[in-house]
Amino acid sequence: MTVAGRAPIRESSEPKTSVGLSGGLAVAEAMRQTRPDVVACYPITPSTIIVEKFDEMVADGKVATEFVAVESEHSAMSACVGAAAAGARAQTVSSSQGLAYMWEVLYSAAGLRLPIVIHCANRTLSSPINIHCDHSDTMGARDSGCLQLFAENAQEAYDNALMAVRIAEHPDVLLPVMHTQDGYTVTHSVERVDLVPDAAVTEFLGAYEPKVSLLNLENPVSMGPVISPHYGPDVKLPAVEAMLHARDVIASVGREFGELSGRHRGLTEPYRLDDADVAMVLLGSTAGTARVVVDGLREEGIKAGLLKVRSFRPFPDEEIAGALEGKSAVAVMDRSLSAGAGANPLFEDVCVSMYSHAVNVPLVNYVYGLGGRDTFPGQLAGVFQELLKIGRTGRRIPMVRYL
């Protein structure tokens, strides 16, 4: 430890494993450790912190990546598609309008079954122009065929960035993996982050040997040919199947990563949920606030619980229905809108999960934190109080409520 203003007395030559990093810098560090062959990026707030740090590492010779400074996010994703089709490990970084600009190429990447890793920082979509967090940007890419993992804090963003490479490249998956963290709340907040040593990351990831690639001269292929209508389902349905296989892969990679790091990551993360009477389901950093609220309510004798969803695509429907069975009321928290729909994205998926597995629990949908508006512990406590009332009375109108 050093004292501010003084030269360090003794610096250990061992690399530090516990460091203070913001979520953005933690992901940049993870990118360096995964040693991508190609990274193509166009900076956009709040993900810029990731790109600029990674670019600096490339410039300093800390990682031998071909960094392509493209002129737009559409080009960034296109360059990643080309690189991945050639058999390279390819990654990109984006947020908000940038991710929206990548949108059509995301569908190509997924359709071509290319294991590109997309590091995202959630930021609302315009208009009104606003650089702060909600989940509308990644929700816009919800149906693109990319996996989507959400992180609660810098540590989880770092862990997800490492695991994303393994998950994407798994032969049963071979799909782009988008992992995301809340803009500013996580990307720019410094926390303690426990790093996995470089050599352990290299061993964990292994070598990437694509079976199908343009530069494999032993087995030449044409990728992305035009197809006739008859073959449409033949290409699309295996990608759906792969997305479903990804549930097992996310779970098994999470277990393996747990053995390596001591941090076990599943598709969901329950908190004081087993014996809970009322529960909240959510994505991202607000889970941290919700934990504090749950603890406070528990001290008052209220059986509150939390279910954090880490894997939004694939959606762990059976796991979620099972975890919520028997609760007297559940609030599903959405940080994005689906204007004109009956409710909002996370709520709809939870609803379908419950219906598919014949679990009947009163659900209500809360929309919170749009455009980065803060969500305070008192507001979440209020949600739990309303859930207790719904549990007693069974009255859950209005179904969609706004914080």
């Binding site: 079976k211 292929v221 992305g224």
Partner: protein, 94 residues
């Protein structure tokens, strides 16, 4: 087909049946045909059937009905006729 619609085999365009795109169909008057093979040279889809250097007809499974053969034929022995009407009359497509 491999993952993501990738194709590994070569020379497989014959499996792509493009005859269904046709709006007009080439119809030949064999009395006038001189077997000069100009149609064979110009056909972009390899749909001119040839036997022993003699024109024998059209591969209607693949002919898209572009009409280049009819335009290029020096003997003016190919006419383009409406596909729909021929189908209604029960004429076979291939």
């Amino acid at each position: 087909m491999l993952q993501g619609g990738a194709i590994q085999s070569q020379g497989n365009s014959v499996e792509r049946e493009t005859g269904g795109w046709r709006v007009q169909r080439p119809v030949v008057d064999m009395e006038k045909c001189t077997h000069c093979m100009i149609c064979w040279v110009f056909c972009p889809d390899g749909s001119i059937l040839v036997d022993e250097m003699r024109f024998t007809g059209f591969d209607l499974v693949h002919c898209k009905g572009c009409g280049i053969c009819a335009v290029e034929c020096p003997a003016k022995c190919i006419d383009m006729e409406g596909e729909a009407a021929l189908l209604e009359e029960g004429a076979i497509t291939s």
